[in-house]
Symmetry: C2
Subunit: 472 residues, 2 copies
């Protein structure tokens, strides 16, 4: 099969060409719908082992806290909506094996136990990720929950609504860990978060993370930092009753949530011989092709290029999964699209505090071999004299000598964190802080001081770059 056929050039008839998609969430759903939209003559079969397609896993904490009314609100596209587009959706059906020689997948119906094979011309591998489970005693006890899938969310919600839970320990103080901690606190539970870093959300520098820690503590969530889970103690019935930490603390828990992040779900791929990359995610090219002819991959299970470090990284985020799925689907459908990589942008709201980051943190910049200067400014979200002006802290990390912006972090309240996008685009375009301070950014008193915090930080970073150059 030559590349023209493989990429589905519109000049080639594809009647009967069959695309099998493994996984019906963001990446798989996007790939299936884009391919089908571009080439209605394709047979597209999408397998999903869960009960929902194309849902917002990021929304689960807000469903747990009742900010979002129902599970259905989190579903962007139901199986029925996918079917209405002509996609053959197989729900509660797990793909258990991939045979690349025969070009079939083996599947099992999780409801009736039935099984079968499905042939493919193109395969989209979009299995997502699985929660990290530290190999400690008791980790598989009843009452230890992940929050990866909508089904996980439903199970967690059911447990919380049982009335048996008063004390929750969240293992891992990253984005999801803190969001779940806050949700449980809103439900009136006692909540403790355990994290290995000195400040929560370790992807932030400590001078930004300390704001996050303060905000979390203000909500009466206990933080156990610079510590790790060593064991989960269970009662006679095999149910979690406490988390024991490496430092020896025993944290009573009626329920444990694992918020340690995720790793790519690559078992099936490994078994089939679809190569992984250096990061442990599926290796793909810019068009989301794996190294196996006709096999594509997208979403949390793949690795992406980090545009600053040059390394391959796995970043499990819905926004990337949607883009990557779209790219795969367009290419399968005979179009042309690429996924040009990531720069590490992330945002969260924690107990009324907003925090966001992009590019490299100082630790990441060091690890990537960069030398740099930093600038931290404390400013306001509106003109200082304007009613409702809120503090905002902005940190910039700029390369020595060149002044190129390598990373930025922002923390504040109300309308603070989304400003990270401006900095993400500066980084994407490899701008130096000297040029950033000249940018024509919007100004009016309800929105920023006349020197926008971004510009002030760029000025300060530029002064640091200049001072450093004088000493070189």
């Amino acid at each position: 099969m030559d590349r023209r056929t493989r990429t589905g050039s519109p000049s080639v008839r594809d009647v009967g060409r069959r695309v099998v998609v493994i996984g019906g969430d963001a990446a798989g759903g996007s790939a299936a719908s884009q391919a089908k939209k571009r080439r209605p003559d394709l047979d597209v079969v999408m397998f999903e082992r869960g009960r929902a397609t194309s849902y917002s896993a990021c929304g689960i904490p807000y469903w747990i806290s009742d900010a979002v009314d129902s599970e259905a609100d989190l579903v962007a596209r139901t199986p029925e909506q996918h079917r209405a587009m002509g996609i053959d959706v197989r729900m509660r059906t797990e793909v258990v094996g991939i045979d690349l020689d025969r070009r079939v997948v083996h599947w099992r119906d999780l409801e009736d136990g039935g099984s079968g094979v499905e042939p493919f011309d193109d395969l989209v591998y979009a299995t997502g990720s699985v929660p990290m489970r530290p190999p400690v005693p008791g980790i598989d006890a009843t009452g230890v929950h992940g929050v990866q899938t909508l089904d996980d969310g439903a199970a967690l919600r059911a447990a919380l609504e049982s009335g048996d839970v008063r004390r929750v320990v969240v293992v891992g103080g990253g984005y999801i860990g803190l969001e779940i901690a806050e949700a449980c606190r809103i439900r009136g539970l006692e909540v403790t978060v355990v994290d290995m870093s000195a400040t929560p959300v370790g992807t932030f520098d400590p001078d930004v993370g300390e704001f996050i820690a303060d905000a979390v503590r203000k909500e009466d969530i206990e933080l156990v930092l610079s510590d790790a889970v060593a064991a989960i103690e269970t009662d006679a019935g095999g149910r979690a009753r406490a988390v024991v930490t490496a430092s020896g603390r025993e944290l009573p828990a009626d329920l444990v949530v694992l918020g340690l992040g995720v790793r790519p779900a690559v078992r099936l791929a490994e078994e089939a011989g679809i190569p992984l990359g250096t990061s442990g995610g599926i290796a793909v090219d810019t068009g989301m092709r794996t190294r196996v002819e006709g096999v594509w991959a997208a979403g949390d299970c793949v690795e992406s290029v980090h545009r600053l470090s040059g390394q391959r990284v796995v970043v499990a985020l819905g926004t990337h999964a949607n883009k990557q799925g779209r790219v795969a689907g367009i290419n399968i459908g005979g179009g042309y699209a690429t996924f040009p990589g990531v720069i590490g942008t992330a945002i969260t709201r924690i107990c009324e505090l907003e925090a966001a980051r992009t590019g490299l943190s100082t630790a990441e910049a060091e690890a990537a071999g960069y030398q740099f200067v930093t600038a931290v400014v404390d400013s306001t979200t509106k003109a200082g004299y304007f009613p409702g002006a809120q503090p905002i802290r902005l940190k910039m990390i700029a390369e020595r000598r060149s002044g190129r912006l390598l990373g930025a972090q922002v923390v504040g309240r109300e309308a603070a964190a989304k400003r990270i996008d401006a900095l993400a685009i500066c980084i994407w375009n490899e701008m130096g802080v000297d040029e950033i301070l000249s940018l024509d950014l919007s100004y009016a008193p309800p929105f920023s001081p006349v020197w926008d915090p971004v510009l002030i930080a760029a000025r300060k970073a530029f002064e640091a770059v200049e001072a450093d150059v004088r000493q070189l």
Copy 2:
């Protein structure tokens, strides 16, 4: 004097070198303080004819509405603060002539009527702008107010507090016009706004401007559109009593506010022989040098390069004035800085509605000779299912064939408009909409749908570019 001396290279002693600054607001104040900071041995004399230095003219509407408590809140740096830095500030003193041959300025003390001359080695021309006054009968009547300076603001406030004003007509429905209209409405007055455009704030396209019109009308502010002021009728005492429009409407008014925008205050420069540019503002190079040796200019009185149209334009905005003043001051002080031009970014809040723009509007793009496609998307400020998600409309204007982003406009509520900065940086970097849709922007449910509105608009604009290319 060679350039090294002129730009104040630190290797040259400048004892007794004298810098005269005309105008003590954003541009003049920044230039004076930067120059003095870098070269403490400079003699810096700053003339200001008003009663305040370095204030936020943009904040005046919020002082009128009482959102800001006092005039003093709008002052970023008082004369005393400037003096503490070693700047010789002459308040209420107007420069009435510039003699470039003798290198002196002539000044007059507005308080005691005294006058004198002040010699200079370097001159910074930072006279700001004057409100447009249409040449119609009655325009100079009592009760017709500008809102250009803090003193104008004080006069307007005093008039409104006199108790004699019930009906206000604002001539001009641009940013300042609408902000003042809202302020007067908040004070409980009857307010009418007259504007020549079909939708208010004519720098927005009509499909965005219609949202602004709706928001204004919801506040019970009457809009008279596609009409202009033809005369101001006065009573026997010479006081404004009504605005008569070109279409013949008579709008009763106890007070009239001119919000027609401004023009650069260049009279003194013209008289002295400092050349203007094609736009009518003072012509300057990237370092804020005029075409006269040792004479610099900055702020509302100068013209800037528009980076998209390539034309010289006058944009009166505090953010530019501050940057330009800083650049002039750094260069005078022997450093090196440039002002690389503008792209037309602006933002406003009108009656709870936020609106912002950057780059070229469709009318401006046409005038600049571009051909383009447009995309308008209606999305939400948070994930659609998230509590408090607000509608947001985003419009993109992309060049035919290349797909380069030429302009963007955004309108919505709460945390909508400041997102324009991201688009401004895309335009600054000459990004195409195809690359924009791949950007690594921040996503979490409290901040955006998983496809950020910026990405959705870029997708739609890219599809429009592709559809257009097929027809070329």
